[in-house]
Symmetry: C2
Subunit: 333 residues, 2 copies
């Protein structure tokens, strides 16, 4: 059925190795031989089987891409970047969609069975089990959007959530706010914890009251909306720092539904700068994550790691940026 190495070799009247060599990078073939082979290959419309090659070389060019945040539209942007960047490098993503019920071991085994060259984890809310499972399987792993730790077991690429929290506290203060709330994602999410930590630390330092703290049950619009409703029932604040744009939009709509004017009566700061943040229904002031840089860096890292599995663990934190739009009142105190 399919045309193989052997067919080309026969047609060109050369050995199988000769054909193999013309199709593998940096092998020793004379110019004449290469041309003879390529001609035969062209005539037969041959292209080498990556499966067979993988078996022989134990390299697959497959990269496992593990994620569990398919609910958040920002993920579509992230996903787009990953898949494009990988395929530009000749790598293929093998997707794992983690659901709450799925068993870590099973997925690790599966990726192992496909003999992926490496794994990129794209999630800040990943059960620890996964990470250690990969470690046990000796698969190179890069954890993107993960929490930084001084002595990491894995390569981590992400942002400094603590610094971001501080940046927001400072910005709110600079805009004249003195009494603000934090509305995070799930309490168990490390990124939420870190953002809050930074937020509180800077607040304490500069004299910003930030004792009202709420957690949404998920990084979703509805969770944000619900959490904001209950926050409004109990407290009165001047501004809210939300741990995610989606949560923030839900919160803004909850406030507007009560007739609260934004930013005149209540200010908001989001997180991520997803494309919707610039929509004129929201015009959200928010923290922009350098998604593109994070993703490119992680792919570079996994590439290097595949070459040299012993490469020592690195933590790369990339800088974020405050994008000012219309959800904070203007700077005059």
């Amino acid at each position: 059925m399919a045309v193989t190495l052997k067919d080309v070799a026969e047609r060109a009247g050369v050995s199988r190795s000769a054909v193999s060599r013309t199709f593998t990078e940096g092998a020793s073939v004379s110019k004449k031989m290469r041309e003879k082979v390529l001609k035969a290959a062209r005539e037969l419309d041959y292209s080498p089987s990556l499966i067979a090659r993988s078996l022989a070389t134990s390299r697959t060019k497959l990269i496992g891409l593990v994620a569990n945040n398919y609910q958040n539209p920002v993920f579509v942007e992230v996903f787009d970047l990953y898949t494009r960047a990988l395929q530009e490098r000749g790598l293929r993503p093998l997707i794992v969609n983690l659901t709450d019920e799925s068993d870590p071991q099973a997925f690790v085994r599966m990726l192992h069975q496909y003999n992926v060259d490496g794994v990129i984890i794209a999630s800040s809310t990943l059960p620890q089990g996964y990470l250690t499972a990969f470690k046990d399987a000796r698969v190179p792993v890069v954890h993107t959007f993960g929490r930084a730790s001084p002595n990491p077991d894995f390569h981590i690429v992400g942002i400094d959530n603590i610094a971001c929290g501080e940046m927001v506290a400072q910005a709110l203060f600079d805009h004249g706010y003195r009494d603000v709330a934090f509305l995070g994602g799930p309490k168990t999410s490390t990124s939420t914890q870190d953002r809050l930590a930074g937020f509180e630390r800077r607040s304490a330092k500069i004299g910003l009251r930030s004792s009202v703290i709420r957690y949404a049950e998920g990084y979703t619009y509805n969770a944000g909306r619900r959490a904001m409703k209950s926050l409004l029932d109990e407290f009165e604040v001047e501004a809210v720092f939300c741990g995610d744009d989606l949560i923030c939009m839900g919160a803004m709509d909850a406030a507007r539904d009560r007739g609260i004017a934004i930013p005149e009566e209540l200010g908001f700061v989001g997180f991520n700068d997803m494309s919707m943040a610039s929509w004129s229904a929201y015009r959200l002031t928010t923290i922009r994550q350098p998604f593109k840089d994070i993703i490119l860096t992680s792919i570079e890292l996994i590439d290097r790691l595949v070459e040299n599995p012993a490469y020592p663990s690195e933590v790369k934190l990339l800088p974020c940026e405050l994008i000012e739009r219309n959800t904070l009142r203007s700077t005059s105190v």
Copy 2:
């Protein structure tokens, strides 16, 4: 390094075939043998290499998933469904992210090289070149969200866009509108063409004026916004049928920015019922596509097609539903 069939065979003191058989569905192994093998396998933490198996069986359990609409947040929902449904069946998606510049042939070759069992195309705006390229490569293909044709060359799973267009025309008429506009996606998109065709046909029949027609340059918020602005500059209508929710939201915001009240002064109908459509900033009346059914059907179809490549081409169109929210004035004429 990795533990192989042979290791297990030696440890269990049996032949390699015996080990292979205990790990392949429906092979002939006695209970005693199976247990002996499984015990050895467990002790060595063995799991069969899918790469090697693929080489031997020429089945990979890989399904190419080809898409080019990574800009639209609705795609994240679609993607979630695809990846989950595939992995529940023991299949793995191999993602192809088509950009405008990418060469059809190259991707077809690539999927061929990975020896994918089948390909699912998830796009309504795909250059014809891709489809024929796959056909030439004799890879089973299911085209989802594609245009129905009486004598299709491929399996198609999607919706009846013409019927949807008719449904919207009727709904607008029933709500008392008499003078409406169509604001579609790109003019080259077959789904846009079909929706318009149905819309115009029914309009003509029931006496709904629908001669104002505009196309957004893409299925994006900004494209919708721009198109709506220019529409408002030139025409006055009572309601707008948008070819996509995202376009619709852009259009609504363009209208609101001019102080137009929705639905009192201007009605809107969207398409897709993406999760944002229910946000209280929009509360969009829209057509819901049965994404889940479409996707499950397409996977079933590709499964069957892999078993039997000669399976005759089918077109499956699934019914849509009008979801009424708050962007049309109430029914009283």
